[in-house]
Amino acid sequence: MSTRIEVAEKILSANDKLADTVRQKFDTAGVFAINIMASPGAGKTTFIIKLLETLRGRLRMGVIEGDLASSIDADKAAAAGLPAVQINTGGECHLDAVMVDGALHRLSLENLDLVIIENVGNLVCPINFKIGSHLNLLIASIPEGDDKPYKYPGAYRGVDALVISKIDLLPYVPFNMDYFQKGVEILNPDLETFHLSAKTGEGMDICADWLVNKVNFWKSNL
């Protein structure tokens, strides 16, 4: 005879708890952490490196790169002068709190104001796994198409800021901005949104200024 036991627990609650611990470690070090998510090829690494150039002298930035394999992204970031740590997930489609926790000691947090965590390129899984960040940012690039909010609603719902990147390609690819933004508006009404091109630099200043204010405000409330 079987008995039913009420559990009512979120499936990923263990990861959520560890993510809280990771966030406390960032808090203690006075480091603001951003989780950057996007599909593969959206331009995450290019955006991060451009952001470093734009923020130079204003915020001390480090980066944690998540990929299934290779250290290409960490090498690129290191070549640009960023303290960089590579996490290879070995096949997992996302970073989780365990992986980020294990990477923290490889960065000198005491010398940083901001850590950018570049998640695995994927619009499905990463959003479900908290990693201890203070801000979740999604990059949507123009060539991906204007239907992505409708196809990947979870990713758009779960973030605090949106970067619409590669806007220099708008004249060359079909992309209905109104249709795209309507989908975003429905899923995440007051989402902070930036239009920019990391390649030409257009719009990077506005995004960087917003970020500096965000980090400084956060630090003043610690």
Binding site: C93, H94, G154, R157, K182
Partner: protein, 113 residues
């Protein structure tokens, strides 16, 4: 393919709750999964059969209760399930709508002996 990590978490939760009541065997896991949660039932079952080996959860039946996506219109309060390519309110065409369910991923209960 985050089903491996998800399945491991489900197993951990089930085993912990079974231990609390000194259960001999876990016979069923009842899951609540929203349509927006992007979880593949067959894939979870596949990993379950591998991961649960050697535990009291081996052979447990995984029951997935799918929760449909529902939205509520801010303007006319109509509650509806969105169509795949648009989220507009079908009653008044407003786009000021809110997701009220559909992204759940919970272990609701377990059946034990």
């Amino acid at each position: 393919m985050h089903e491996l990590a998800v399945t491991q978490s489900i197993l951990n939760i089930a085993l912990e709750n079974a231990r609390k009541v000194d259960a001999k065997q876990i016979t069923g896991i009842n899951l609540l999964v929203g349509q927006m949660a992007s979880l593949v039932d067959d894939s979870v079952q596949f990993y379950w059969d591998i991961l649960s080996e050697g535990t009291i959860a081996l052979g447990a039946k995984l029951n997935f209760k799918r929760i449909p996506t529902q939205m509520r219109c801010f303007d006319c309060s109509h509650i509806f399930s969105p169509s795949p390519d648009t989220f507009d309110c079908p009653a008044c065409k407003s786009i000021r709508v809110q997701v009220i369910q559909g992204d759940e991923m919970r272990v609701d209960s377990i059946d034990v002996e």
